[in-house]
Amino acid sequence: MALVEIRDVYKSFTRGAEKIDVFAGLTLDVEQGNFTALMGPSGSGKSTLLNLIAGLDKPTSGTVRVNGSEVSAMTPTQLAGWRSENVGFVFQSFNLLPVLTAFQNVELPLLLTRLSKKDRDERIKIALGVVGLDDRMDHYPRQLSGGQEQRVAIARAIVADPTLVLLDEPTGQLDAKSSQEVLSLLARLNDEFGKTILIVTHDPAAAKRAKRQLHLEKGTFVEQAELVP
């Protein structure tokens, strides 16, 4: 069984009087431990696919299974709980809470668990250590560079040890050097820690780091390239 199983998924939006079909009968498997890049032009539905996998959106028809659970059939309350345990999400614009320090931002997912403060603090330090920012724990986002902010966001995404790490254009607002730092980090998370990563991106450099590339065009996969057998 694949970690992510997408079966025959249809998704359409109505904008005004128009009905826009994003996917028509999409099927996809993502195996545990994959590092997959999802690419395609604007409007091809890359972000929508990510949202469906994270349970942030529901398909019009078809099923989405992650780690055995049918995400497409859960209630919003169930999804919230499921997401807190299974998904780490990283955004293009970092989306750190400006009123919290890096440490406190990374703590956010752990507040949903029953861990004691001591256990929480330990995990946060580990996560920040992995992303190489343990010396900036008490800095506020405004005191960090773009690359550093994104690394904090990644720490936040992995601190609860989720099954899946999803990233939507994570290097979109970063310069070349910061992008490299972030992508190296992702590669390490996949190689050393075995995290399953799915990254939506325009950036060919990012795509190159992934082990598998999917091209999405007008709602269907156009080509799949396995870079690593």
Partner: protein
């Protein structure tokens, strides 16, 4: 609780706004507590009275006199233990701007019947011995700087002329509902100087058992019904209660203003909460992606509103309770024993809760219902 950091950080986002809103809530609840306490103080005074004490006044109108000769006949009534009397003197001191009660009393029996007026033994002796002496309430010492042994001159309004008294003692009430700013002197002194008319303002009686009150009252009033000075006798509590009603509709006035105050503050708080919520849609969406449930976010927003209102409540209600105590406020004698009761504080707490709900419910619901994907898309 573990979300404390998040809540505090959110409130600290706009420190000035948080400060102003909390201060507004504090001021409003301070005002509310003050207004409500006027009502409760008047109510408490209305309830004051020993169950064994009765008051007898002229039934035609209590400003009309009763003969001092009634005293003997009252003492003879079965069940009667003590009898004393008093006259309203209506004296003014200095420019008369600060009003205080002045009475002529049958000193020994009066102090006997009112153990709630505590006087040091030596002062009591001195007062009883000096017919021209006066007993003053502790507050008058603070107000006018009077000292024991000093002479004071009062200007009579009902009994014309200047009246000189020697202060022989200071009384302290053991019950807050008793005025601590009255001046008492000897009835005999008044009677002598006004030509031995033998007029008494009212009688205070102490009976053996409270259960007999109604029956004894009826006996007395029947006895004097057809005389030139008919009487009306009732419990001390009933007497005080009817005084309280003389204020008129003050309860309605205070409650109406109190309502307006609470409503006004609700508007301020709701406005502040709404502004905060509007600015945070993106962050709420991010929390939802992390896995914060709708219910949790609902609760967090409400808790934020609660922190503001409860902090404001503690400050405002606390300030009211402490301030009036510390300044010994009694509205220049009109509201003796003025105090912010625990019941009032509890009501204030309930109002803070209601404020929390009313100001937070809409933003909380909006947070719960926030469509994550749409909110994120607007922002990306």
């Amino acid at each position: 609780m573990k979300f404390w950091t998040l809540l505090r950080a959110n409130l600290g986002r706009h420190k000035r706004r948080t400060f102003l809103t909390i201060t507004s809530v504090a001021l409003a609840l301070f005002l509310f507590a003050s207004l409500r306490s006027v009502i409760t103080t008047i109510g408490a005074a209305a309830q004051f009275g020993s169950a064994r004490r009765l008051v007898t006044t002229n039934s035609t109108g209590f400003i009309l006199p009763l003969p001092v000769a009634y005293a003997n006949r009252l003492e003879a009534v079965p069940g009667m233990e003590k009898v004393t009397w008093a006259n309203w003197f209506g004296g003014q001191y200095g420019d008369g701007k600060r009003f205080f009660a002045t009475f002529a009393v049958d000193a020994k029996s009066y102090l006997d019947i009112y153990p709630e007026m505590s006087v040091p033994a030596d002062q009591k002796e001195a007062f009883l011995r000096d017919k021209g002496g006066a007993l003053i309430g502790a507050r008058l010492v603070d107000l006018f700087g009077w000292k024991v042994g000093q002479n004071v001159t009062l200007r009579g309004t009902i009994f014309p002329g200047d009246w000189i008294f020697t202060i022989r003692g200071v009384y302290t009430p053991t019950d807050p509902s008793i005025n601590d700013d009255a001046l008492m002197f000897h009835y005999d002194y008044l009677d002598e100087r006004t030509g031995h008319k033998g007029n008494v303002g009212w009688y205070i009686l102490e009976i053996d058992k409270p259960d007999n009150a109604a029956q004894i009252a009826k006996t007395i009033d029947d006895q004097f019904k057809s005389s030139p000075y008919p009487t009306k006798t009732g419990t001390e509590q009933a007497f005080n209660a009817s005084f309280a009603t003389m204020w008129g509709n003050i309860g309605l006035l205070m409650n109406t203003i109190g309502l307006a105050v609470v409503f006004a503050i609700l508007l301020v708080t709701a406005n502040a909460m709404m502004m905060s919520a509007r600015e945070r849609t993106r962050e709420l969406a991010v929390l939802k992606t992390i896995g914060y449930s709708d219910r949790l976010l609902f609760g967090l927003v409400l808790a934020e509103a609660g922190l503001i209102t409860i902090t404001g409540a503690i400050l405002g209600l606390g300030a009211a309770k402490l301030l009036y105590r510390a300044t010994n406020f009694n509205a220049a004698g009109f509201l003796p024993g003025f105090d912010v009761s625990w019941a009032t504080i509890a009501t204030g707490g309930v109002i803070a809760m209601v404020l929390m709900l009313a100001s937070g419910i809409v933003p909380a619901m909006q947070a719960a219902r926030l469509p994550v994907v749409a909110a994120l898309r607007n922002v990306e």
